[in-house]
């Protein structure tokens, strides 16, 4: 029996919901995910770290589901079989006079089973911890990742200083080789999380920490910052691209080179505009006059899948849109809107598009 006020309330609330949803139907500023094929699921394990955790998840899920269903079963049984009473019925005070051995036995048994089950879960957890710590690190790829508001620097340090190179927002790793990542934070606390490869690790200013993982299957794995770090925490993505070792070596050799010198007039003009306008105040392109460290290294920007830490696909249109108004795509980001003429903008896009 529904009171009449219910209808009025329901109508008011539905109206409010509709209003809110309609209000949100304004024009999009973001693109859909630029790499829909990227894997980013904790249960879709593509390496030993993630798969140890996924196995543990199965154990816990089974145990916890069993416990939950058991308690639900008891509850439903109680609802089904227990006799009903009224507030006026005399309460049953027999438990004050006599012991209740039946319920005591059942509760005790339930507690014992619970303790044993919890102990088993602790043991399972400790074993998984051990397995995670025992990843073989022979012949590891060493990367230093620094997190900034709201992008990632990755510096590959294998082979000594003359062989090291810096890239941003996208790292390549060889399939089957362990990767040791040293983590630093430049400003606030961030957290590096690539769900299909490993658990997350916080990057804390003033502290240096390490993360180890291995990708056992080639593919594109998406990571994201997982510690609230300000306005664009939501769009601080990182791509981990696992490739066969030979392909990885080719990529490394390419990244070690300086930027490709432009040959056509437009790209040459673009380079000149890049170096003489505000771009060079923050970005670096090895082999040009630009060598600032406060924004992603663009030496090989055209070789990356995405722009702006996984926000936009790396196409000329998106690059042009991003440069002319970054705040539209990532409001609050540190990159300013640089006033550029249409020709200058096209030139820069042509230049950057050649930096493979």
């Amino acid at each position: 029996m529904v009171p009449p006020v219910f209808g009025l309330c329901l109508r008011l609330v539905l109206l409010a919901v509709l209003a809110l949803l309609l209000a949100s139907l304004s024009d999009y500023a973001l693109a859909a995910t630029p790499i829909p094929q990227a894997v980013h699921d904790a249960l879709d394990a593509m390496g030993p770290q993630a798969s140890h955790i996924a196995s543990l998840w199965n154990v816990f899920l089974a145990a916890c589901a069993a416990v939950f269903l058991a308690i639900l079963a008891v509850l439903l049984y109680v609802l089904w079989r227990t006799p009903r009473a009224d507030g006026g019925d005399v309460p049953d005070l027999s438990s004050l006079r006599e012991a209740e051995p039946g319920p005591q036995r059942h509760v005790t048994r339930a507690v014992v089973v619970s303790v044993l089950a919890l102990f088993a879960l602790v043991v399972a957890s400790v074993f998984t911890d051990r397995a995670l710590a025992r990843l073989s690190l022979a012949d590891a790829v060493n990367i230093e990742v620094t997190a900034h508001q709201w992008w990632w620097t990755a510096k590959y340090v294998n082979g000594g200083p003359s062989d090291s190179f810096t890239t941003a927002n996208e790292i390549h790793v060889p399939v089957g080789r362990p990767v040791v990542v040293n983590l630093h934070a430049d400003d606030v606390i961030h957290s590096l999380w690539v769900p299909s490869l490993a658990g997350k690790k916080d990057l804390i200013p003033g502290r240096s920490t390490v993360m180890q993982f291995r990708a056992d299957h080639p593919g594109i794995y998406r990571g994201q910052c997982a510690e609230f770090c300000g306005y664009q925490h939501a769009l601080m993505g990182l791509l981990v691209i696992a490739e066969p070792p030979a392909q990885f070596e080719t990529w490394v050799q390419g990244q070690r080179q300086s930027a490709t010198e432009p040959t056509d007039a437009k790209a040459l003009r673009g380079k000149a505009v890049f170096e003489s306008s505000s771009c060079a105040m923050c970005h670096a392109i090895q082999g040009s006059l630009a060598s600032a460290q406060h924004a992603p290294d663009l030496t090989h920007v055209a070789s990356r899948q995405t722009l702006a830490a996984g926000t936009l696909p790396n196409t000329p249109q998106d690059l042009s849109a991003w440069i002319s108004n970054p705040q539209l795509h990532k409001p609050g980001t540190n990159m300013p809107a640089t006033p550029l003429s249409k020709d200058d903008l096209e030139a820069i896009v042509a230049y950057l598009g050649g930096l493979k």
Partner: protein, 654 residues
């Protein structure tokens, strides 16, 4: 025939006075009503010390904050209902989720439990008021002003935006410019002062102001839960006070507590905050357990099974809850072996809660069920909280936590345990005690509609979040890209959230309509056993015209043995006098004269507000503000000749 237990220990004076003891309706009873009445008029509104008056205001205020926090969540869910939505931008979204978390945790969850306790405990314990009634009033005013300060700041674009947990360095002086986080940190000061003060009030009331015969072994389980909670408050709140004070100092005067470059540590904040933050969720959860222990015996028509085990479980939960805090920091670079210890303790704390659940189920199994709305909300606890507890076990394990920490999995878990473990029991308690404090019955039909909408809406809103977290969606994101596989789950969650809101709204409508025109309630509509059901609905201002003597855990069900005294008599009816009993066995100890209504708590709260709000802008406010605070405090404690004469007159020569 009833005979008084003993005359309370006598002191001086020989003037004949009106004393309590006779049945209601007589001259003495009317005198009692008048003595304990609240002062009338506009200025009188700022002066009451009656615990019921203050608690009613306090409950309305906390529920208003609950509604505000819910509205914030409604906007958040609207923004997240579709990918790449731009209903709100990142700055406003950050303020929304910070305000939502802050409101729910600091302005709703802990205060509402404390205030239900300050309303119900004197009734349940068989006494006339709480201990320290003026301080109780001060706690309310401080809380109100702190919450208002935060919301006024929010309306002027100065709402905090660094999360309810405000990790440094994001909330520090370099990365949170302006005064937003300062208002948040100072709001913490207000609310933890209020919570500490209420904890002192509750502990003292439970220990010293019980009806004679209510030994600790006969103390209602709700009182045990509030006692345990209040002790936890005493130890937990100082940690967050320390953390937020250090943060205020870093931001205002340039100290380096959290500056790694100068020897500080960003992780110090996390340790201090979570040392408070983990017990904080148990501060919210344990009173919920108390509500269950109050409601289940009544609606199962039998005393609770396993009383001793229940009390020990409450105490064990309280102790253990202080040893869990690092499980919020599993993703940091703390040593792995240390983290393993916290895994073990985080799982261990499930055991006392499990004992309680088994005892309740045993009570329900061996009882006879009265399936009314309060019991429905309690039964939902067994579904929702247990599911939340299971995901809690998953989060306790370090490897699993490393995957789902800071994702929507945690959002699902925390809402399952807090809403299932505290809000549903709170609503059950509300329906249960509404007849007592308003004198009217709530509508059973509307109550059932509200319950089912809340239950279904809640599960639809929060269950998909487990999957979202496992599929990679982090927390505290103002938007997400289309094509990640998160779209439909988010939409379902939004629909569930609005259904939940509708259910809550129906309860509000139910409460308002019933308060005006509901069926008048008898003293004991549910057939309950504890002492609050032995007095009228709503209770007289003095709670009990005759203070009862207690002979069992459920005094209404266990009347005095023949020949044994049923009531205390001899307390003055024309002066505010109270019986103080011993801690363990509740033997009459002495009488005290109770503080009368006074405006000084309100004025002290105003002065404290000036001190705290000023110190957001300048450290000199501490100096000048202390002077301003000292004045009403002096007025508060200044003895008056009239009161001194009254107290002298009440003393009788032995």
């Amino acid at each position: 025939m009833d005979r008084p237990l003993v005359e309370p220990p006598a002191r001086g004076s020989d003037a004949p006075r009106l004393k309590d003891g006779p049945p209601p309706g007589s001259a003495e009873a009317r005198a009692l009503d008048e003595t304990w009445a609240d002062p009338p008029g506009f200025f009188g509104w700022f002066c009451p010390v009656n615990h019921k008056t203050i608690a009613k205001r306090f409950i309305v205020t906390t529920l208003a904050f609950f509604a505000a926090g819910g509205l914030l969540a409604a906007v958040m869910r609207a923004q997240l209902s579709r990918p790449e939505n731009n209903l709100v931008g990142p700055d406003m979204y950050n303020q929304l989720f910070t305000m939502h978390g802050t409101t729910m945790m600091f302005l709703f969850a802990v205060p509402v439990m404390q205030t239900v306790a300050t309303y119900m405990l004197p009734l349940m314990l068989g006494t006339r008021n709480v201990a320290f009634p003026r301080m109780n009033a001060y706690a309310y005013w401080i809380f109100l002003f702190g919450g208002l300060m935060l919301y006024i700041a929010f309306f002027f674009n100065t709402g905090p935006d660094a999360g309810w947990f405000a990790y440094v360095p994001l909330s520090g002086p370099q990365f949170a410019p302006g005064k937003r986080v300062d208002f948040w940190a100072q709001m913490i000061t207000f609310t933890e002062m209020s919570a500490l003060v209420e904890a002192i009030v509750i502990i003292t009331t439970i220990f010293k102001f019980r009806a004679p015969g209510m030994t600790l072994n006969r103390l209602p389980l709700f009182a045990w839960s509030m006692l345990v909670t209040s002790f936890m408050v005493l130890f937990a709140m100082p940690a967050v006070m320390l953390a937020s004070t250090a943060l205020i100092m870093d931001r205002l005067i340039g100290t380096h507590f959290y500056n790694p470059a100068e020897g500080g540590d960003a992780l110090l904040w996390q340790h201090l905050f979570w040392f408070f933050g983990h017990p904080e969720v148990y501060l919210i959860f344990i009173p919920g357990l108390g509500f269950l222990s109050a409601i289940i015996p009544t609606f199962a028509r039998r005393p609770i099974f396993g009383y001793t085990a229940m009390v020990l479980s409450l105490i064990a939960t309280a102790f253990l809850s202080f040893g869990l805090w690092v499980h919020h920091m599993f993703a940091t670079n703390l040593p792995e072996l240390g983290k393993g210890f916290f895994t073990a303790v985080s799982m261990l704390i499930a055991i006392p809660s499990a004992i309680q659940i088994y005892c309740w189920l045993a009570t329900l199994w061996t009882g006879r069920l009265n399936l009314k709305t309060p019991l429905l909300f309690v039964l939902a606890f067994f579904f929702i909280l247990v599911l939340g507890g299971m995901t809690g076990l998953m989060l306790a394990s370090v490897p699993l936590d490393l995957q789902v920490h800071d994702t929507y999995f945690v959002v699902a878990h925390l809402h399952y345990v807090l809403i299932g473990g505290a809000v549903f029991p709170l609503f059950g308690a509300f329906y249960y005690w509404f007849p007592k404090f308003s004198g009217r019955m709530m509508s059973e039909g509307l109550g059932r509609w509200s319950f089912w909408l809340m239950f279904i809406g809640f599960n639809l809103a929060f269950f998909p979040m487990h999957l979202l977290g496992l599929h990679g969606m982090p927390r505290r994101v103002y938007t997400y890209q289309a094509g990640m596989g998160w779209d439909n789950l988010n939409l379902a969650s939004t629909i569930g959230a609005y259904t939940l809101a509708l259910g809550i709204f129906l309860s509000l409508v139910n409460a308002i309509r019933s308060a005006r025109s509901g069926e008048p309630a008898p003293a004991d509509p549910w057939g309950g056993g504890t002492l609050e059901w032995a007095t009228a609905s709503p209770p007289a201002t003095c709670n009990f015209h005759r203070v009862p003597v207690v002979y069992g855990r459920d005094p209404v069900w266990e009347p005095p043995p023949p020949g044994a005294p049923a009531y205390v008599s001899g307390l003055a009816a024309d002066s505010r006098e109270q019986l103080v009993t011993t801690v363990l066995d509740a033997l009459p100890d002495h009488r005290i004269s109770y503080p009368t209504p006074s405006p000084w708590p309100f004025l002290s709260a105003v002065a404290t507000t000036i001190l705290f709000v000023g110190s957001i802008f300048t450290p000199w406010a501490i100096v000048w503000g202390s002077v301003i605070v000292a004045v009403p405090l002096v007025g508060w404690f200044w003895p008056t000749r009239r009161e001194a004469a009254e107290h002298m007159a009440l003393e009788k020569q032995p």
